[in-house]
Symmetry: C2
Subunit: 325 residues, 2 copies
């Protein structure tokens, strides 16, 4: 994903809310929490449990991303990841997913192709989904451009095709999310995501924090939809030297609930520098810093010291279709 505008940042993170705003939201929610079962409780944990999904985005987009993400998953402090079906390195991650059916892979539904030197098109043929393509025949670079041009029927056909393609390749997705948040850009797009996810009995990335920021969201949710409590995602406002400090503070300040920490992993190698050429935000060095943190002993120690339990989307997904809340 990629920095575009403030709405885009919020959207691509599944409506992440900055920490300052979180506390305000938390206060207003505490009253209702005392009377209904929390998500944590529905998952079978005590109400004060701090559950964390550490989630790697963008798998399939580059060999460097696949290699770093697989390594981080195997080290064990990244618990989940999502795959971009239209991308060239899909066969590599699909082979890994088939060989590791226990791994928690979702689909990073992809309607944009954001880099300049390296691009991809849709899973469906170009003649089938012309509104998804820019003038050069690839998916639009930016989520707001894509949202402005896309025919909603073509969007639905394409995301259904991405899910079908995953299953045909032996990937059993545990969840859905949206690359660069394109499917959170409008009511019509979000409604499509909710409906397709529901039909496929899959949870999708969404947090309670979004409700005040995107008023169209709550009315579109059904009683079967699972909503996380919080999303953590580092932003370009954090200086490179403050990377560890940012994540450390976030973990130390983690409150009870289910939080998803989104990371973007890769090595700062020639391929990744080429892929992200001219774009330091979410670029090669950014992803190397994320990789360094989530594979560090410091992160492991931090999780332990703060009683944070890693969970996966597979656990959360078991609640989909259960209306108890």
């Amino acid at each position: 994903m990629k920095l575009n505008a403030s709405i885009a940042i919020l959207a691509c993170m599944g409506f992440a809310t900055p920490t300052a705003a979180l506390h305000q939201t938390q206060t207003s929610r505490s009253a209702s929490q005392s009377t209904t079962k929390t998500l944590v409780e529905r998952l079978g944990y005590p109400r004060d449990a701090k559950l964390l999904i550490v989630h790697a985005d963008d798998l399939g987009a580059a060999h460097s991303i696949n290699s770093a993400s697989i390594k981080a998953l195997e080290i064990g402090l990244v618990s989940s990841a999502s795959i971009m079906m239209p991308c060239p390195w899909l066969p590599e991650i699909a082979a890994y997913a088939r060989a590791h059916p226990e791994a928690d892979f979702g689909l990073h539904l992809t309607l944009t192709s954001e880099w300049s030197l390296y691009r991809w098109g849709p899973v469906l043929g170009k003649e089938r989904v012309p509104s998804l393509l820019d003038s050069s025949g690839y998916l639009y670079p930016l989520e707001n451009e894509a949202a402005a041009h896309m025919d909603i029927k073509e969007v639905e056909a394409e995301i259904r095709a991405q899910i079908a393609r995953a299953r045909a390749l032996g990937i059993q997705p545990t969840h859905l999310d949206s690359h660069m948040g394109t499917l959170y850009q409008s009511k019509a797009l979000f409604e499509t995501l909710v409906r397709v996810a529901s039909e496929n009995k899959l949870p999708f990335r969404l947090s309670q924090e979004s409700f005040t920021r995107a008023p169209f969201v709550p009315p579109l949710l059904g009683p079967d939809d699972v909503v996380l409590d919080r999303i953590i995602s580092i932003e370009p406002t954090v200086a490179p030297q403050d990377w560890s400090k940012f994540y450390t503070e976030e973990i130390k300040n983690l409150r009870p609930g289910v939080t998803c920490m989104i990371v973007h992993l890769a090595f700062a190698d020639e391929e990744m520098k080429g892929v992200t050429f001219g774009h330091p935000n979410w670029g090669a060095e950014w992803r190397q810093r994320d990789f360094a943190f989530v594979t560090s002993d410091a992160f492991r120690k931090l999780l332990k010291e703060n009683n944070v339990k890693l969970i996966t989307w597979r656990e959360v997904g078991k609640l989909v279709g259960k209306t108890e809340r």
Copy 2:
């Protein structure tokens, strides 16, 4: 390109002939050479000139290939290259081609996607050219599989689309060739290449040596088609430690005429090791060896000492449509 079977090796090289066979062919051709203008003479050089196109294949297929090929072109001992239009790194090489209109870029017409972890589809939509796709929705891995399944009308539509896409992106191709030699696999495929090339007034890779090996070729050629004298291409029979020796002998033994020396350039980095995973032939180390040789002072000295003049496909292409021979 990739090792498949003996016919495939010959085909992907535009019917390269091993050195031993060359001498035999040469003898039989010498009689007619005395009475007609040779290609060298038509190009304005003395009959005994040794003209060489040093040609890099597969541009656009990977960042590593683009980087190594651009570096080699700029060092100046590689004179020409060809681009794979369906590949993910096309935007990078297209940008370079636009910025360097003097560079000699042709199109490496692509009907196969041969690697295992990293793949691509056609330029046309999948619904438009279903016979070009394997069961996973990509172009077939091998040229003989592709040739056995492809509908000739879909092949023609796809290669026309690849040429149109190149021009739309600002690439002005100087020549055509065929990735893994797929378009040399049958009379119908080769006829399609000849016709499309002719309509586009572009020369295509073919050498005189092929005539005895592919009897369907000569009757398909018109008086406007330009045929090179020889093609040099290293094969898996050459041991890695003999790389320089092979090329050195080829240059030392170069005879008068127009020869195309096909090389495959890349760095043996993580991306290229991933792309060519499990396939040492035309793999990452192979391409690093090719790069090392064609950018070496030894190669420069060798060309000079043996009076070999580098030319480009652009020069050869000026003869297309001129029936003098």
